[in-house]
Amino acid sequence: MAVTATTPTADDIMLDASGMPLKQALAIAERNKRRKALIMALPLLAFILVSFIFPIIQMLFRSIDNPAIHDNIPNLSREIQDWDERAIPDEALFAILADDLRAAGKLKNQGKVATRLNYDITGSRSMITQTARKLKKKTEGPYKDWFIGLNEKWGEMRTWVALKKASQKYTASFYLNSIDMRYSETGKIVAQPEERQIYLTLFWRTFYISIAITLICVFLAYPISFLMATLPVRTSNMLMILVLLPFWTSLLVRTTSWIVLLQTQGTLNDLMVYFGFIDDENRIQMIYNMTGTIVAMSHILLPFMVLPLYSVMKTIPPSYMRAARSLGANQAYAFYKIYLPLTIPGVAAGSILVFILSVGYYITPALVGGRTGQLISNFIAFHMQKSLNWGLAAALGGVLLAAILLIYLAYNRIIGIDKMKMG
């Protein structure tokens, strides 16, 4: 950038060495610099977008995508949308269904249709597979009475209403399911029956366990961060090792330790029996339940609270507190008026971090949570691996992700994501 000492007049545009107006040259130079900076970040950005962001969007798409019936019995799926839901469909629709099911049976796709319909109407799996099997022999109509004779469910309104809803290309039913709602037999949105309402309870449990863990972490981290921030550097570095060693130790190792300590035949129970606090027969169940999840997760997440708190407290000059005391405040008042407000950014940073991490926690609850300590992630894993209801897994994931993104945005607004530090 050429710098001239003369002040330009109105008709005297500054030119650079090659005769280009200076303003333009500067703009080009800045654009080049921007492009260079962007190019350096581009490989990682591309990598993250392709192998992380895009797969997540694709997975979330599964929560509304509904291809099982729409793609495998396409003609019926199209025609049934015009059905008025007043009476059992006429022979024409039954004939289309028969042709579609026969075609699906040839490609061995009737199972997918059956499984999908079974989400909405329990017991309809066998109805579909049985009908598809029998259809191989029956090549001509009339079909309506034959269908109903084969399985009386074909003569029920709710089967057809469910089929109409389930055959749409996109569906909200997974999301409804994830908040304990469903489409009723008449196609209205209603609450799930009592015994199937599990997810709202689960979201609520995940929320309050995470809040509890966050509070425990603040309660434990605040004093030791304060101690480390006020001790001489050499001592506080030694103490810092006690925080960093757990931080760097494998999660599985720490979970194992808690199993060793807390199980009924474990060290803690042994100690309590030895000192006579409890009888040998009445050992306390402290793991494989919610207690286990909370204790183990608080231990695992505690360093995430200590590190931001410590880095904030270290910047507070001790003279502030001394000044407050010299002006007549007692220790408690000076702390409440001076020290506490200054540490709020650290508390906020640590709390949001701990809360975000614990809301999405999977490994520790899965290993030590038993039945009552399972969080939402564990149910996502269950639907991914065991029940294979991927749409519901994606919907639960979508709700969880939306919640976390909101907190993440708040974090970015309050603290700034580039202020995040490790170790």
């Binding site: 970040a41 993250i48 997540i56 599985l252 190792v253 994501i417």
Partner: protein, 284 residues
């Protein structure tokens, strides 16, 4: 603030010692669970508790049988090898890409800095189960499930935020005028990077790399979703150990892992001291 001022009253004294005791208990809470497994891993009985013999320091009660178990077991050895291979390559990918991105992000002319930063950090924020499920679908489509490459790439994704964060933090205290000085002395940008920038930010890069390595080394959910039996890692092996046949061999492995983390921690501490020393010498 160390020590109590002479004018402190009885209440203040009690508070002072009570506070210290409380802090001591918190430190015990942090460290004791990790230390407790070390003696237990030398138990000669197949239990997870201290036996009478161990408490009376009877040498008969201690043995190395669980360590021998690891060496005799092909699965453990195989999974150790896997963990190191996968961790190594994931670290390389994450460190190279993450450092480059951090260099770009700390330039004063970086456009859309905030949104790009948010995208790059997101693998750390998104719950691991969602990432793993998403990658499972994606990788099955491109035939990367059950391959080493798939696991390495997925672990690299998880490791990059740590590299980006640590290197960006290091670069924030890096004197950008050094680059201009090098340029004015006729150095090409690549040469400037390798002879000026890199040596100065190396502690940050290495600690970022260590974070990426430990992220991969400790990761189990991706492995659960993406790996076949062939790519089992140590955490995966511990996972099934804890869920299926629980044996003290796990404690022996855990003890080895604790020593590994002590080594990593030492390296990090040395790096921190080095960078503090360098910063003390710099004119700022």
């Amino acid at each position: 603030m160390s020590g109590i001022p002479p004018y402190a009253g009885a209440l203040e004294r009690t508070w002072y010692y009570g506070f210290r005791v409380f802090c001591g208990l918190v430190f015990l809470f942090l460290i004791l669970p990790i230390l407790v497994i070390i003696p237990l891993s030398f138990n000669s009985e197949p239990y997870f508790t201290f036996t009478q013999g161990m408490l009376s320091l009877d040498p008969e009660a201690f043995s190395l049988r669980w360590y021998r178990d690891i060496i005799d077991n092909d699965q453990w050895l195989h999974s150790m090898k896997n963990s190191f291979i996968i961790g190594f390559f994931a670290t390389i990918v994450a460190t190279v890409l993450g450092t480059m991105a951090a260099l770009g992000l700390s330039r004063p002319f970086m456009p859309y800095r905030n949104i790009i930063m948010m995208l790059l950090i997101s693998p750390m924020i998104v719950p691991i189960i969602i990432s793993a499920a998403a990658m499972f679908f994606f990788y099955s489509k491109v035939n990367l499930t059950g391959t080493y490459l798939g696991i390495i790439l997925s672990h690299a994704v998880l490791g990059t935020p740590f590299v980006v964060i640590t290197v960006t933090a290091t670069l924030s205290s890096f004197d950008q005028s050094l680059i201009r000085a090098a340029a004015s002395l006729g150095s090409a940008p690549t040469r400037t990077f390798f002879t000026v920038t890199l040596p100065l930010i190396l502690p940050g890069v290495i600690s970022g790399a260590l974070f990426a390595f430990i992220t991969s080394f400790d990761e189990v959910v991706m492995v659960l979703f993406l790996a076949s039996f062939e790519q089992r890692t140590i955490p995966r092996q511990m996972w099934s150990g804890l869920r299926e046949q629980i044996s003290p061999t796990i404690l022996a492995v855990a003890t080895l892992l604790v020593f590994l983390s002590i080594c990593l921690l030492t390296v990090l501490e040395l790096l921190r001291r080095r960078s503090e020393r360098l910063r003390g010498l710099s004119p700022q």
